[in-house]
């Protein structure tokens, strides 16, 4: 068996699967249930400053998009931070950590962007003997209107400032949670790094309206005829999250900064992909909220099986392995030439590759050959774009086959060169590096 024990900025957990700060981690009852199912850690739902707790709406908090069979693809929410009393939460955190010493227990925090507010809450958390804190600079709804959450996360200077306070006033590891609702996620990551954060976690949820009720023309979820943008999460956001994780992992300034990967992790495979792009662990919410805590068993087993099959002994063998392969467009090899190839034995003749190519792309797939329905690639027209592969309903039916060096690309009439060559040196590039 592979070793999937995780050590993330000194916080140890039996596996890299943590529950993200969210409704599933709002109280001891839920967290204990999660630990019993095997979750490696939790980030306790965000605590606010002392005083009367926030209040939530009393109507719908969630909206969703689904596949045809109501498979939940994306979820959004307008829930705020914990609406329970601060001291009740702190007492429960302390008790849970005592009951489950081998699990990671990190506490998410969001207080006003003032030094005293942070200075006040940090000792209270420390006293619980929790393993660390996560700074919630992400929530895009509600709290941001009060100058917290993503309102902080969107201003790198604030991020750096708050991180600095936290590092100053606590010995606990600090994880800075980033909002994706920003043009360039590297900026707040660099700021957090500069402030001395131990790690960043991302992504928080994305500003969204899931749907519009066409009977009363109101956005969903609808509260008494009105709606507000909420934070979007679930499988639909994973590609966005993967990119943002990778951007930070390969950035010169933040390279090596530990990352806790969040965003649509639903299966072991999703988790492995985040790890490969540089995440040290992953945090999960929507999948648990959809299926319950038991899904972690699949994640643990699946990750183990995959690592065993591939000979990866520990998480360190996986973490960041894909980062060197993430590059800028300009460095992609323009001498790499592929052509689509359709396996006629697997083809079920739906014709989607043809119509996608014919209507919207390069007219490179036949519909008829010698009077019979048959879909074949016309190499003279194929640019190797991969659209046919993506729209084909049969896995493995269409392959992108690279041409070997020395072969003729029948579209361009050029012989494929063995050497790597990219845009920076391409003759069409007006900015190409001067060779002479």
């Amino acid at each position: 068996m592979a070793d999937i024990r995780s050590n993330f900025v000194g916080i140890k957990s039996p596996n890299p699967f943590w529950l993200a700060s969210a409704p599933p981690t709002d109280k001891a009852y839920n967290v204990e249930r999660a630990f019993r199912e095997g979750w490696g850690g939790v980030v306790w739902k965000t605590l606010g400053e002392e005083g009367p707790p926030v209040v939530n709406v009393n109507g719908p908090r969630y909206g969703a998009i689904w596949g045809a069979d109501r498979r939940l693809l994306g979820l959004n929410n307008i829930e705020l931070i914990t609406d329970r009393d601060l001291y009740l939460n702190l007492r429960e955190i302390k008790q849970v950590k005592k009951n489950w010493p081998d699990r990671a227990l990190v506490v998410s925090l969001m207080v006003p962007c003032e030094e005293d507010a942070w200075k006040a809450i940090l000792p209270l958390v420390e006293e619980t003997e929790a393993d660390g804190i996560e700074l919630n600079f992400g929530c895009p709804h509600g709290m941001s209107e009060r100058g917290m959450g993503s309102a902080v996360g969107q201003v790198p200077e604030y991020v750096e400032m708050v991180v600095r306070w936290c590092k100053q006033y606590t010995r606990m590891p600090v994880i800075t949670k980033l909002t994706p609702n920003i043009t360039d996620v590297r900026k707040p990551a660099r700021a957090a790094h500069a402030g001395g954060t131990d790690a960043v976690s991302l992504i928080n949820t994305i500003n969204s309206i899931t749907a519009v009720d066409l009977d009363n023309f109101a956005p969903e979820p609808t509260i008494d005829g009105k709606g507000s943008h909420g934070g979007y999460c679930g499988p639909a956001v994973k590609p966005i999250a993967l990119n943002m994780v990778a951007e930070i992992a390969r950035d010169a300034e933040t390279r090596g900064l530990p990352i806790s990967g969040i965003g649509g992790v639903t299966t072991w495979r999703d988790a492995a992909e985040f790890l490969a792009l540089g995440a040290g662990n992953v945090q999960v919410c929507t999948a648990a909220m959809t299926y319950g805590f038991k899904i972690v068993r699949e994640m643990i087993e699946g990750l183990n099986n995959w690592m065993d099959a591939k000979g990866h002994a520990s998480l360190d063998d996986v973490i960041g392995r894909a980062v060197p392969n993430v590059t800028d467009w300009q460095y992609l090899n323009l001498n790499y030439v592929t052509k689509a190839k359709i396996d006629q034995d697997l083809c079920i003749k739906c014709g989607r590759c043809h119509i996608a190519c014919e209507d919207t792309s390069h007219q490179a797939i036949t519909a008829m050959v010698d009077g019979a329905r048959r879909f074949e690639v016309i190499e003279e027209e194929c640019v190797g774009c991969n659209l046919c592969v993506n729209v084909c309903p049969v896995e493995g039916c269409i392959d992108m086959v690279p041409l070997a060096a020395g072969e003729m690309d029948r579209r361009t009439g050029r012989v494929v060169e063995a050497d790597y060559a990219n845009w920076t040196t391409h003759p069409n590039n007006p900015m190409k590096a001067a060779a002479e």
């Binding site: 079920i348 989607r352 119509i355």
Partner: protein, 450 residues
């Protein structure tokens, strides 16, 4: 409490009342909204979809399914009705397993085609359930067209002709419209009087007068119609039934399956229908299956279909054969009827001879088998009765014993078109009759307005 289950002879009331209701309930219950959406989601929206080509009426199947998937069942229904105004019945009775669903790429992919027939029913039910009409009539043309027969071909042509502004008179020999939809198809495929509901839905467009009890060849002549109308569409179906050509077939208890089914379809109370304890059905087509299955559903203890060739030669689809088997019907192959054995004038048994193919010809082997039977259904095919045409003093060309038509449904006689089971070269399917009626109507329209 089952009173007469094991009584010999042909008797009614073999089952308890609740059994009848259960046995003759919808064969395929309608899809619920969510089921329909999930099933619709399975459709790949193929390019130039094979299912469309397999449909005799060329319904745009991917489009109507996509309209279901997007929550637009009425739009879906219109897509269906544009090509097939009897899409509701076709959804119920089409042998989809040999048409659209056989061609479905998911059949190739995983042996589990999209349930096109049930989706079509879902959409058409939605429109018909709320009486939503999609078509109005064009400005009156002043042209009058006679349609002979109010079956699928006749109704489809009448609707399309009325749509184009022509006035249509439909002559129907039977007391009700619908043809085989009303009198011929198994009850469990079209329960709750759907055939009449559909007739009402189709004729609601207006401009269609139906005269019942008017039999062609008896009350009407072709020359008379051709003289009185601008055009005539013949869609009278098949009036004759093939004989067994077996000794003793005049015995009491030997019946035409089509007559028995027609009677069953009109019965208000299935418990009143007499059925044999041991029933033998001779034939290998859909009528044989329908008769045999319904005999079982009425409480016959043993029902055996005897077909003179092999399973692979049966006109009934494999799916229909499996349905019969699931209902407890035994299907025996390579047996032809030789003699009906009677006792006191009533059928008591059937003597059959084993057959074989030798040199491409079917021959008896000489070996025989006797099956006890108190009722025998003949279901070995129907025939066109040309007397109704030529007896009226008009010559019209036939081919293989049925009316010869060209690609547009024109007969050899000017002003006369034909479609449905009475024409040569057809496949005796409701959906084909609809296509022929529709296409003949377009041809008539072009001819009248040309």
């Amino acid at each position: 409490m089952v009173q007469r289950q094991y009584e010999d002879g042909i008797v009614p009331g073999r089952l308890s009342p609740g059994d009848y209701a259960q046995n003759f309930a919808d064969l395929h219950p309608p899809l619920e909204e969510h089921e329909a959406r999930v099933e619709a989601d399975r459709c790949y929206f193929c390019y130039d979809a094979p299912c469309m080509h397999a449909c005799p009426t060329s319904i745009d199947i991917p489009l109507f399914i996509r309209e279901i998937a997007t929550g637009n069942p009425l739009g879906s229904a219109k897509t269906i009705f544009d090509q097939n105004i009897l899409g509701g019945m076709c959804a119920r009775v089409c042998p989809t397993e040999t048409l659209c669903e056989e061609a479905c790429v998911r059949e190739a992919a995983e042996g589990k085609p999209v349930q096109i027939g049930r989706l079509q029913r879902y959409a058409t039910d939605a429109a018909m359930g709320e009486g939503r009409q999609f078509y109005g009539r064009a400005a009156p043309t002043g042209k009058r067209v006679a349609v002979v027969g109010a079956g699928p071909a006749g109704l489809a042509s009448a609707h399309r002709l009325a749509m184009h502004g022509h006035d249509v008179t439909v002559y129907e020999a039977r007391p009700k419209s619908g043809g085989l939809n009303e009198y011929g198809i198994a009850a469990y495929k079209t329960p709750e009087n759907f055939a009449q509901a559909e007739v009402d839905y189709v004729t609601a467009i207006g401009g269609i007068a139906v005269e019942h009890g008017k039999a062609f060849g008896r009350d009407l002549s072709l020359s008379g119609l051709a003289g009185a109308f601008d055009a005539v569409f013949l869609a009278m179906g098949l009036g004759g039934v093939n004989a067994l050509r077996a000794e003793g077939e005049e015995a009491e208890g030997v019946e035409n399956a089509v007559d028995y089914i027609a009677n069953l379809r009109q019965a208000r109370d299935m418990a009143q229908l007499p059925i044999g304890r041991r029933v033998v059905v001779i034939g290998g087509g859909m009528t044989a299956i329908d008769a045999a299955v319904q005999a079982r559903l009425l409480g016959a203890e043993e029902v055996t279909i005897c077909y003179r060739r092999g399973r692979e030669h049966m006109n009934a689809s494999e799916w229909e054969q499996d349905l019969a088997a699931s209902k407890g019907v035994a299907i025996r192959h390579w047996l032809q009827p030789k003699r009906v054995l009677a006792e006191g004038g009533k059928v008591a048994a059937v003597e059959l001879e084993y057959t074989q193919l030798s040199g491409g010809r079917l021959t008896g082997t000489g070996e025989t088998l006797t099956l006890k039977a108190d009722q025998v259904f003949k279901a070995i095919g129907q025939t066109f009765e040309p007397a109704v045409l030529n007896g009226s003093g008009v010559g019209i060309a036939l081919e293989s014993g049925r009316i010869r038509v060209d690609g547009e449904g024109r007969t050899s006689m000017p002003k006369v078109w034909a479609g449905g089971d009475c024409i040569a070269g057809g496949d005796d399917l409701t959906v084909s009759a609809v296509a022929q009626g529709r296409d003949a109507a377009e041809s008539i329209h072009r001819a009248l307005m040309g």
